[in-house]
């Protein structure tokens, strides 16, 4: 399975690339978003800001929406999850809008939420083989508020929010699996398995 990681031009892509490689994915770093629509699977990494990432993706927004609707497996991580929603309080403009709902600022005391938190997962293929009580690493100031029943895991940080969302092979996680040790690597592996099952 060839997994294309979108490079918005900022941030560390090494860990996510290496994590997916360990999960059996063949990695391609994509700097031209037009190439994404032809991908076997897409990963939107979790670095940068909502507006800046969407500036890169906006020219191909319709092609990406179509590819995702046609079932190209997609994983959004942190900011990469947020851009799958309709809009964000972080920046003006639309997201990809493949999930209904908007992204809002965390209301709790210490923001960004920076560190390891509990993730309560439902019985979902993304969390297959990951014990309850596993902690995942977060570094976020914003959270997604889905309008559909797509949350497959929840975390509490002053308020409860969607830790992971999934609709068939379209997935988003608010934490950083590539920075969450063994449970995180397992989640990446589960995504690749889910994507391969779809082929």
């Amino acid at each position: 399975m060839r997994v294309s990681i979108m490079d918005y031009g900022v941030g560390n892509l090494y860990s996510i690339a290496k994590g997916l490689e360990r999960s059996g994915g063949e990695i391609e770093i994509v700097t031209d978003p037009r190439a994404l629509a032809r991908s076997e699977a897409i990963v939107f990494p979790g670095v940068g800001a909502f507006g800046a990432a969407m500036d890169v993706l906006r020219p191909v927004r319709e092609e990406l929406r179509r590819a995702i609707a046609e079932g190209v497996p997609t994983l959004g991580i942190c900011l990469g999850m947020q851009i799958l929603f309709e809009s964000s309080e972080e920046s003006p403009g639309t997201g990809l809008g493949v999930f209904g709902g908007r992204v809002t600022k965390l209301l709790s005391g210490r923001v960004p939420q920076m560190g390891w938190n509990d993730v309560k997962s439902s019985d979902d293929p993304l969390f297959d083989g990951i014990p309850q009580g596993s902690k995942f690493y977060y570094a976020n100031s914003y959270i997604c508020q889905p309008t559909e029943k797509v949350a497959v895991a929840e975390t509490e940080y002053g308020q409860r929010f969607a830790a992971a969302v999934r609709k068939n092979t379209l997935c988003g996680v608010q934490f950083h699996p590539e920075k969450s040790g063994p449970p995180g690597l397992k989640l990446l592996k589960n995504f690749v398995a889910l994507a391969e099952g779809n082929q």
Partner: protein, 256 residues
Amino acid sequence: MPLTKRIIPCLDVREGVVVKGVCFKDLRKVGDPPTLAVEYQDQGADEIVFLDVKATVAGQRTLHEAVRKTAETLFIPLTVGGGIRSFKDVRDTLKAGADKTSINTAAVQNPGLITECADAFGSQCVVLALDAKRKGDSWEVYSHSGTTPAGLDAVDWAKDACDRGAGEILLTSIDADGTKAGYDVELTRSVVRAVNVPVIASGGCGTIDHIVEVLTKGEADAALAASIFHYGEHTVADVKKILESKGVLIRKDVGM
């Protein structure tokens, strides 16, 4: 759930090798950065910090090579600091494989750099490294590896930097650094209570009890330590076991 308290081994790096400074002087070689980082990851470290203590331009290239190599096998966050002078340095360090960069002198000289980097990369990538030394009833900020007083009050500067977009504070007590006599608990608590971002306490760790103290009485979100780990006195797992026995919330292996 509240976040777990983090244990962060710090690797002082000079020209690609790990050293540990005593009061920022007398450097002694203790190992290879990627190897040590993965060793600590396996012990249960929650994060790793690389600090470039020489920070020359040539040294930065060597450091980036070490960061790149480390990022290939490290699956916990990596913060890199020391000698980061500009927006370009931040970008290059993140691109090399760091998840966050810590900035001290450059932020003191040009506070706008904090905002510029936070807007481009997100606040979570911008760590303010704050080196402070007691002066009467308060603490003064120092730049240039603890050699130059910046004329700023530590608590005021911490608040100002957060308003400008810093996402975390790496707080080092210059008085305590290298003494192994314990963290500056009072300084730590003063900064923690003044800001809304996580605070990592640093400087002075000599025993596990010091870590317990700064995470409880000092109210720090994370404790950074170097020598107690580097010389094999204690593993990160030892520290977490004791923290857990004292009722401190930590991340532990749940059997994967």
